[in-house]
């Protein structure tokens, strides 16, 4: 259905007789993948093999992500959470990609992937705790191979490449995933890391959530490229654009890229074309720089609505079932908020926790209050 292809021709021969004729060096294709359309209809040929229970699990996780996000924003408004970056609109991109991962795979997130964290099983109280400004929450549980949130845009991408180098050296049967946004694709670290991954054919998947806004800068001011996916071509590996509001397309592309990575096929860049439906953070007012009409158009393409339409057509979803699921998610988040708010605040001595394996003599003195 929606495999769109456009072609980049690098140098073309115009057919004239010349002593030094131009040669066609290469032709590249950039593909866009879609499986589930906004009306909830799927292309059966592209639909990944997923039992109904798995699809329902995806739906639950997307609802949980939306509920978490709405609650986090309202907690911030009440002064119970610090500055928070909403994920609204990006649930399919996050749940769909994380759903394809194996527990042994490694994940290097940015700071707007709470939907991926929830999918991977990160404790919800701990996720909330981080956004209260409590860095104890950055201690990812030992069974999850997730790096701490990375706030410096794009700077986590080389870490993922380094982990992939280590994976290759150890011959471990795992892949590495780096998450980042459209803004990160302008950073040097993105390009340096992609280049390194290409040179060493590393087992890594770069997942770009192109939500089309880096705070106030729209995509057209971020890059003159026709897509973000095509940036991979310059580094010698595949890039694919997927409909980021289509959970099946995101899942399919990620699954394929992970299999390719683990079988020695090297890196893939997946551009999930989605939309940041909320402000950049709770400290931002997107009304200053983008129109209500634009936001409204994307509201119609809401990834959760789309999945509900699909499920309804299969008689797996109804308004009542949806409400039931939302009620269940609300109860889970309620309990997590209670648990988070019952945590005792950190003490001054915890400033020094883990700064180094062994504190320096001066740090020891400072810890004692000198």
């Amino acid at each position: 259905m929606q495999v769109c292809v456009y072609t980049l021709q690098i140098v073309s021969n115009n057919g004239e007789k010349r002593t030094m004729p131009e040669e066609l060096l290469a032709t590249y294709e950039v593909r866009r993948l879609g499986v589930l359309d906004p009306n909830g209809e799927v292309d059966q040929a592209l639909m990944p093999e997923l039992p109904d229970a798995e699809i329902w699990r995806m739906y639950q996780l997307m609802v949980l992500s939306r509920t978490f996000d709405e609650r986090a924003v309202s907690l911030q408004r009440e002064g119970r959470l610090g500055t928070y970056p909403p994920i609204r609109g990006q649930e399919a991109a996050q749940v769909g990609s994380a759903f394809a991962l194996a527990p042994s795979d490694w994940v290097f997130p940015s700071f707007r992937e709470m939907g991926a964290h929830l999918t991977l099983g990160c404790p919800i109280p701990q996720l909330l705790q981080y956004w209260t400004g409590d860095e104890r929450a950055q201690k990812v549980p030992a069974h999850l191979n997730i790096f701490p949130f990375c706030v410096a845009v794009g700077s986590q991408i080389p870490h993922a490449v380094g982990a992939a180098l280590a994976v290759r050296y150890r011959r471990d049967p795992v892949a590495v995933v780096a998450y980042f946004g459209d803004g990160a694709t302008s950073k040097g670290d993105f390009h340096e890391a992609m280049n390194l991954a290409g040179v060493f054919t590393l087992p890594i998947v770069f997942i770009c959530q192109n939500n089309q806004w880096a705070i106030s800068v729209p995509l057209k001011n971020q890059t003159a490229s026709g897509s973000l996916a095509q940036k991979a071509l310059a580094y010698g590996f595949d890039g694919v654009q997927v409909d980021g509001n289509d959970v099946f397309a995101v899942y399919r592309a990620t699954k394929q890229a992970l299999e390719k990575a683990k079988s020695g096929g090297g890196p893939t860049l997946i551009e999930c074309l989605t939309y940041r439906m909320a402000d950049h953070t709770t400290a931002d007012d997107a009304g200053r720089y983008r129109s209500n009409e634009e936001v409204a158009a994307w509201r119609d393409r809401d990834p959760i609505l789309r999945l509900e339409r699909f499920l309804a057509a299969r008689e797996l979803w109804s308004v009542e079932k949806g409400d039931e699921e939302k009620g269940r998610a609300t109860a889970v988040i309620d309990a997590a908020v209670r648990e988070m708010e019952a945590m005792p605040p950190p003490g001054a001595a915890e400033l020094f926790d883990g700064v180094q394996a062994k504190l320096t003599p001066r740090q020891e003195e400072q810890k004692r209050g000198r």
Binding site: Q138, P148, S155, P158, V161, G162, G354
Partner: protein
Amino acid sequence: MAQLNMVQAINQALGDEMARDDRVVLLGEDVGRDGGVFRVTEGLLERFGAERVLDTPLAESAIMGAAIGMAAYGLRPVPEIQFMGFTYSAFEQLFAHAARLRSRSRGRYSCPMVVRTPYGGGIKAPELHEESTESIYCQIPGLKVVAPSGPYTAKGLLLAALRDPDPVLFLEPTRLYRLLREEVPEGDYVLELGRARLARAGGAVTVIAWGSMLERVLKSVEGYDADVVDLLTLNPFDIEAILGSVRKTGRVVIVQEAAKTCGLGAEIAATIAEEAILHLRAPILRVTAPDVPVPLGKLIDHYLPSPERIRAALDEVLQY
């Protein structure tokens, strides 16, 4: 024991540790086939293979960032940044990530890696090849900064750094790479990080120096009754060794290759003022480079602290 220069001593430490610990992996520009632009890693590609000696693309931030990911995964990477002036491209990775990873993950992840880089002036090289900006790196909590002053200390400190659980910036004084030869034990020995070394014993004045300046200081103090403290580790520096010497002599000259303002010498002087001012008989003097960018070769002798300026400072504090 063999007489080695610093290039040979560092090469031996790297090779020995790679043989002992398969987690140690080198990466950087030209470190493999070329053996590094100073030949410090010569022969290691042949000995350990391309999976452990990685010739990387020319991208310092990616080298540093990748090393962080490798370290967090469980390896002990040794990224080489070809010259200190090129560490600036990798500064964010070092400051925002390598030094903070243990703290910000509350111990879930750590970053045991040794960043090797040649530093210092006087080698007739182009711009940004003769930098000495160690104090910038000493302001980074979580990062250790080490500067050997000769072949013997280079090997022992590097072996200690390679076994340290946290990131270490290892500054190799370029001018001394082949200038000095010393007895270097063939076997394993470790010089504990955070410990200074009394390079010369005396009673009238304490001279504090490190890395590239130590050799010049030792030549300059001939004929003086000087205690020379070789810092070796710049952060955390050995406060007790400094204070012990200062309490004995009551006079202090700090010799630093870097520009004066906010240099490491300032921190040392402030520490002495806080802890031992009542033992001082004279003002603390600093002999440093001026507060200007590192010049090219024609002006470098006017820039680096000279033996004449070091002796003038000694004469001045000895008047008290």
